[in-house]
Symmetry: C2
């Protein structure tokens, strides 16, 4: 096989287990079945997902089949202990809608014609009582509680329900049912994807190769990108908004985005870093190139051009004509409290987030910073409201 | 309710959990559903089983229903790990035959007309995949591994397959399906029967009361009575053979048999012990009374009379006409090695057992003890062979 295929698949990949089997499978020159699991309770994609999806796209481009596995079986059950209010049981209809949302989003990165969509209830609902016992017999308690979060909870004497131990098995059995050749996941999924390999061996199948992708840090550079941390860039966001958010990340995090979202190799990144040190390049210019590259890759070239021009207008030329024009709802108090204002502008999701923004000095009205959230702001048509470094609103 | 019913149910009972609920259930004066589980892989009953069966008989006599639960679900599966060669999967036909054998044996103690026989595959085979998840969600890993053998194996880093954790749940669910009011078991079953109570509460049923019975020691007085230890008295053995075995136990163990098999109270036993100390009674006489009582109770009065007379003939009068008459197979060497002789007489199951018997001085030929297993014994018609204290053969 040409070395270049294997090499390009390795770029940005955290781990391949076992490496020689990947080479072997690729060398068969047959379309491989690449499994990728999707959680139907959270259909909104962000750039954190794009890391794995880009890798899947590479596989598609090399002629392989992506199996989008929708884990509806557990979503249909919800949290049977009733402990988690955030995991209600979904109906089949809700799952179908979420899956459709998800598929239309991944189609920004993947070729939808080369995706096989499967729901795991198809085979999991058919497992009989006796088969469950036999399935559970294939794995030891010791092996299951190797999983990091179980080990941690056992060490902390935290509650683990017995059904939770079955979930890695369920995920592993999906690989058996799909006869997957390769499974992709984030590094936080390593245990679960290895379980697929393990069970396939027990079912006398050629076991899947596992490929894990690094976890992308969110805008804060600390936590992983996640909707629940509010540090994400949604894949359906307006390109200029996404561009602005990309421009807000730290210089350090920029290299990570170059690597994971734009697949720049270590040597390419080293050259850019050297250029900055030697004052051959400005960090701001490289960040703009990264933001442009990401929008071009995951949105489109025209959208990247548009987003870049908007950014340039707003931040370089201070041209507020590019600000988002907004009219406050009729009946809104004038003067208005700053927290209420931020909520009406949807610049903050909660009152506490609004308070934090104001306290940190993120709010300016017509060029004047306001850090006291007890003042009252008088607004009129044409008032410019700036939130953080890059977001501008103009009252109309 | 009359106190006497509760009191007589308490005799020989190790534990009732919770005690006040038993009283409450009995005071309803309605037939209660008493669950008792049977392992269909081992249909041969011995006096160890008789301890629990006698208690069940008491319940029958008070008008309650005994549900004989045949655990065919797991027997049909066998050992899915393939580790245990002694636990092959049984067919439904084999299980039905074993159950029939079992029922005809328990009918020596229980009233067969007042037994409801149930197979747990009836409901366990119907549990769907989703229900399995929900069932497992009802119990924590911590709770399951409280079970003594799991805790021990975890401490010893021994292998536990995940399916083994499901078995207590399966047993517990049986109580839900049966809507059991009371479950009986040996003290070694305490964890499992408590699981039934626990799950019934989760299924919003009035939870079963659990009653555990002490484990009867075998003839050696050390290990629990068990076919695999060879220290048992089968419930279908010939009454004179059983009587002989009962006479072979130690004086100390005799009190235990009085308590567990004949339901003698502590004060009754104390009186007998006092009589021995004051030389008002001879231990041999009390042992004969115990042996007679057990045969009378679990066989019949005529059989007890017969067994006692046989014993008296053999051991008191040394009347060898009561010896088992046996002809050795044609072609048997004469003289014969003692090990071969014991095997032909079926007085020892293995060569090593035969060697042990001979070394311990258990073998006498025509009144002469032989402890050397290398000698050769000459036999003729009328030769009396004594094995241990109570077993006599006469060559014909």
């Amino acid at each position: 096989m040409p070395k270049t295929i294997l090499e390009s698949l390795m770029i940005g990949t955290a781990q391949v287990l076992p490496h020689n089997e990947l080479e072997k499978k690729l060398s068969k020159h047959k379309p491989l079945r690449i499994k990728f699991g999707m959680d139907p309770t959270a259909p909104d994609l962000h750039l954190g997902h794009a890391v794995v999806l880009s890798k899947l796209r590479q596989f598609q481009d090399f002629g392989h089949t992506i199996i989008l596995l929708i884990g509806d079986f557990t979503a249909l059950i919800g949290d049977p202990t009733g402990r988690s209010k955030t995991r209600p049981a979904l109906t089949s209809e809700e799952i179908a809608i979420n899956a459709q949302t998800y598929i239309s989003q991944v189609s920004k990165i993947l070729d939808p014609k080369k995706i096989e969509v499967r729901y795991n209830s198809e085979w999991l609902d058919k497992i009989t009582s006796r088969e469950w016992i036999k399935l559970c017999a294939k794995v030891s308690l010791a092996k299951i509680i190797e999983r990091e979060d179980f080990a941690l909870r056992i060490a902390n004497h935290s509650h683990i329900s017995l059904h939770e131990l079955l979930y890695p098995l369920v995920q592993g059995y999906d690989s058996v049912a799909l006869r997957a050749d390769i499974e992709l996941g984030g590094t936080d999924q390593t245990f679960n994807v290895l379980m697929g390999r393990y069970l396939q061996e027990h079912f006398e199948q050629d076991p899947q190769v596992i490929m894990t992708m690094p976890i992308l840090e969110g805008l804060d550079g600390v936590q992983k990108m996640s909707k629940s941390y509010g540090n994400y860039i949604g894949i359906t966001e307006a390109p200029d908004q996404a561009y602005g958010k990309l421009m807000s990340i730290s210089d350090e995090l920029m290299w990570r985005y170059y690597q994971l979202l734009l697949h720049k190799s270590s040597s390419e990144i080293e050259i850019m870093q050297k250029n900055i040190l030697e004052e051959q390049a400005h960090p701001m210019a490289l960040k703009k190139a990264m933001a442009y590259g990401v929008i071009e890759r995951f949105w489109s070239k025209p959208e990247a051009d548009y987003a870049e021009s908007q950014f340039t207008k707003l931040f370089n030329k201070k041209d507020y004509t590019a600000a988002q024009e907004i009219s406050l709802p009729a009946g809104t108090n004038n003067p208005i409290e700053p927290i209420v204002l931020l909520r009406l502008l949807e610049a903050a999701k909660t009152n506490s987030e609004a308070s934090r923004l104001i306290a940190s000095g993120a709010l300016s009205i017509d060029g004047i910073k306001h850090t006291d959230f007890k003042i009252h702001i008088v607004y009129k048509s044409g008032t410019i409201i700036k939130v953080g470094k890059h977001i501008f609103f103009k009252i109309i």
